[in-house]
């Protein structure tokens, strides 16, 4: 019985060491890769109770509306910058690449990138939020009975 026990003890402690090391490493990696979400006003005023502001060089996500007329494109490349706003302060996003299909002025977008300075962000990815149409399920259910054109007032098929 004894050698078997010893072997077991060895195996169990081996597992425990590996497991705790693994979980520790994982949590560390997890925290390294957390991208906090900010709105432009949160970026300026700080986030949450403690008004935590991001530091320059931090990776983050920012979501807001593209200010009308703020999209500036470089004439010869795909460099583009635009302003984002939610309820007050404006921040500028710089991006080099193809904007998403649904990118429009006045639309909500989310950009992933790093903070250049207090109000500038270099984006690595820009995502368009495509639904500006909240559809809580109860409503989706309710809609089934309502949102229909009565047969008389129809449009020819294919009308945009």
């Amino acid at each position: 019985m004894n050698p078997r026990r010893k072997q077991r003890l060895l195996a169990v402690s081996g597992i425990l060491v590996l497991l705790s090391g693994g979980v520790g490493a994982m949590l560390y990696a997890l925290n390294e890769n957390v991208d906090l979400f900010y709105t432009p006003s949160q970026l300026i005023d700080g986030l949450g109770e403690e008004k935590k502001k991001p530091v320059v060089g931090q990776r983050l996500r920012i979501g807001g509306m593209v200010v009308k007329g703020s999209v500036r494109r470089d004439e010869h490349s795909l460099k583009v910058s635009f302003d984002l706003v939610d309820t007050g302060p404006i921040v500028t996003v710089h991006y080099d690449g193809i904007l998403p299909d649904l990118f429009r002025e006045g639309q909500g977008i989310v950009a992933q990138g790093t903070l250049l300075d207090a109000t500038n962000i270099q984006a690595t990815e820009v995502l368009a939020k495509h639904d500006e149409n909240y559809m809580p399920p109860e409503v989706a259910e309710a809609v089934k009975g309502i949102k229909h054109v009565a047969p008389k007032q129809t449009y020819p098929a294919g009308t945009p």
């Binding site: 994982m26 957390v34 979400f37 795909l78 080099d96 904007l99 992933q112 559809m135 399920p137 009565a150």
Partner: protein
């Protein structure tokens, strides 16, 4: 009218599933054969009723019956017929109907193919499956009825299918994926049946194995198709996004892979029993969790179906009953089961255990990465997302020991193995792998590219060790003809491992050597990428059946010679107000050329995204090879052998 037939058939199916849940379990409990025998035709009838119901919904789509709300919301008279049919599972309600169709299909298959099992066990398995069926039929009928009418005011035309889903990959991706998810219900039912009876002998594992393999094989193909679809349709040239919905399918796959290996140990050596049972429960639980995450709106994802707390609540309650109940049963019963088999530290058992540890760690990584934003938010710490590097870096580290063990394990004997005899052949193969990896890499510019070297090395190691093992077997069995004596499941393993090697090489090479360029081009401009010259020759307006947009034509040259012609589209779907990128892909085994058309800029010029992606095909081919391995294993004769009359010696020691 037809839709009502479908609805009615579904109601009957719910009633039948209740019978299926109660009678056979009662029969097994009382030891009465009658109720158990009743389960078989009941299961088949359940499948037939569901098939009728599903056909009714297909028919409603076929004839553009927009008085059915689900049809009106997900189809359009302009939609080509094949997309009208795939629109059946394009959204929540229909996909749930597909889900129950597959669930009843698996149940019927179990009923028809398990004649050889002891009657009591049959009753328990079918009863558990019946119980799972009840939950899903109730969910479809109460929470997501696809047959709801829009009368009296019905729309003249439908709102169209989400353009993202108008693609060939989407026609077969969900059915395969659901076959996999739901298939784990069978492994789950086997595990619960065994817990109820307290019997875990080699027969039990041998019966459960083919079902698990089949489910795993479908899931593998489903995930692979999903990845291929994302690559073609999302226009980013990515093949895996660590999106919550993708992760939800990856978790059961990882656990399912662990389960296949653990079942092998339980079958061959009669040990790892509690572990195997836990994995069987976990695989199905993670399938259910995936369904919950996707359909409740807890996580926001590109694929997420409409959010619905009441649906989520139902699914969570179901999850609690099924998973909580089975884990409670596990706690109550499992501690009494003890394995008798002994094995040394260096033995195949331990190596397979290592395989399980790494697969489960990978699962845990995916799980944490997927749910951490939820935990973070619920603890009041703010909205976050987890960056891709988290998954990529950890998977990279996990792959190293995993692949090393994978190459080694088939060489190692059950029970115990001496080090010395393995050192020479394996050392040779290891050196061979190193030479091959560096050799391949030196054909590219930098033999020191870390990730590619690692991937090639691991891939070559797994390949060579696998081939070496076959060679060794050939030597033992008296030359190449002897190889025909090898069991089909052995060949399945070989194929699966080679597929894994291919996948690893594909991922590493694509990650390292892909080049990507976003460019602004006028007509006649060209751009050079990795020796290929892409020339924009024409852009013109598109006129599709249910979309408009622009198309770009490109010519690709290499060393002054024309390689191919590429046709990329950007489509506008007016009905759904969506914009879709149809990437142009020129695929070869060693590389893909990939062009996506972006927006029109002043000039007129266009934004184009151009990629050269070496070996990206290997990722999907590797997955197909793995699935093929599963198929070959399934063909093993011993899974079809009539059960040996239950030998009392293998009775569980309660």
């Amino acid at each position: 009218m037809i839709a009502e037939v479908g609805h009615l058939a579904l109601c009957f199916a719910l009633a039948l599933s209740l019978i299926l849940a109660l009678f056979p379990l009662y029969g097994s409990y009382k030891g009465a054969a009658g109720p158990v025998l009743l389960a078989r035709p009941a299961a088949v009838l359940l499948f037939l009723l569901t098939a009728v119901s599903f056909a009714a919904l297909c028919y409603a789509f076929w004839i553009n019956d927009f008085t059915v709300a689900y049809v009106a919301n997900n189809s359009n008279s302009m939609l080509p017929w094949y997309y009208r049919l795939t629109a059946v599972w394009g959204s929540h309600e229909g996909s749930m109907l597909l889900w129950v169709l597959m669930l009843s299909g698996w149940t019927a298959a179990v009923a028809l193919l398990s004649n050889s099992l002891p009657l009591i066990l049959q009753g328990r398995i079918l009863g558990v499956l019946g119980f799972v069926n009840v939950g899903f039929y109730a969910f479809v009928l109460l929470m997501s009825n696809p047959y709801e009418r829009t009368l009296p005011f019905f729309p003249v035309d439908g709102r169209d299918l989400n353009p993202l889903l108008q693609d060939f990959g989407m026609i077969i991706h969900p059915p395969l994926l659901y076959m996999g998810y739901v298939g784990f219900a069978v492994s789950f039912a086997f595990a619960i049946a065994a817990l109820l009876g307290g019997r875990f002998d080699a027969n039990w594992a041998r019966w459960a194995r083919p079902w698990t393999l089949a489910a795993w094989l479908f899931l593998t193909l489903g995930i692979m198709l999903g990845s291929w679809w994302a690559y073609n349709e999302l226009g980013w040239g990515g093949w895996w996004f660590w999106d919550p919905v993708e992760n939800a399918s990856l978790m059961p796959w990882l656990v399912g892979t662990a389960l296949i290996h653990s079942l092998a140990v339980t079958e061959k050596r009669g040990t790892f029993k509690s572990w195997t049972v836990l994995l069987a429960i976990a695989a199905f639980s993670l399938s259910l969790l995936g369904a919950f995450l996707v359909r409740s709106g807890v996580l926001v994802s590109v694929h997420a179906f409409a959010t619905d707390p009441s649906r989520g609540l139902f699914l969570l309650a179901f999850l609690l009953v099924v998973v909580g109940g089975s884990l409670l049963l596990y706690g109550l019963r499992m501690h009494a089961v003890r394995s008798q088999a002994r094995y040394q530290l260096f033995s195949r058992e331990v190596l397979l255990w290592g395989n399980n540890v790494f697969l489960l760690t990978a699962t845990l990584v995916v799980f944490l990465g997927t749910l951490y934003p939820l935990f973070h938010k619920e603890l009041g710490l703010g909205s976050i997302s987890i960056g891709e590097p988290f998954f990529n870096s950890i998977f990279q580290y996990l792959a190293i020991p995993f692949a090393l063990l994978l190459g080694l394990a088939p060489w190692v004997r059950w029970k115990q193995q001496q080090w010395q005899p393995l050192l020479k052949p394996l050392g040779l193969w290891l050196v061979g792998a190193l030479v091959l990896a560096v050799g391949v890499l030196s054909m590219y510019q930098s033999p020191a590219a870390n990730l590619a070297l690692l991937g090639l090395l691991l891939g070559a190691w797994v390949t060579m060790a696998t081939i070496g093992e076959i060679q060794q077997k050939a030597a033992q069995l008296g030359g190449v003809p002897g190889l025909f004596k090898l069991q089909a499941s052995h060949w399945g393993m070989v194929l699966g491992h080679l597929g894994f090697a291919m996948l690893v090489v594909g991922i590493a090479m694509t990650k390292t050597f892909s080049v990507e360029k976003d460019v602004r081009m006028k007509i006649g401009d060209s751009v050079e990428l990795n020796g290929y010259t892409f020339m924009l020759s024409e852009v013109y307006a598109l006129n599709g059946p249910n979309y408009g947009g622009q198309a770009a034509e490109l010519e690709v040259f290499q060393h002054g010679e024309k390689v191919t012609h590429l046709h990329a589209e950007k489509r506008f779907y007016p009905v759904t107000r969506a914009v879709m990128t149809e990437a142009a892909v020129h695929a070869r085994l060693s590389r893909d050329l990939y062009v996506a058309l972006g927006e029109e800029l002043s000039g007129p010029s266009w934004a184009l995204r151009v990629y050269v992606k070496p070996y990206v095909r290997w990722i999907w081919l590797g997955a197909i090879l793995m699935a093929l391995g599963g198929l070959v294993s399934l063909s093993d004769k011993r899974y079809r052998r009539k059960a040996v009359k239950a030998d009392t010696g293998a009775q569980a020691h309660a």
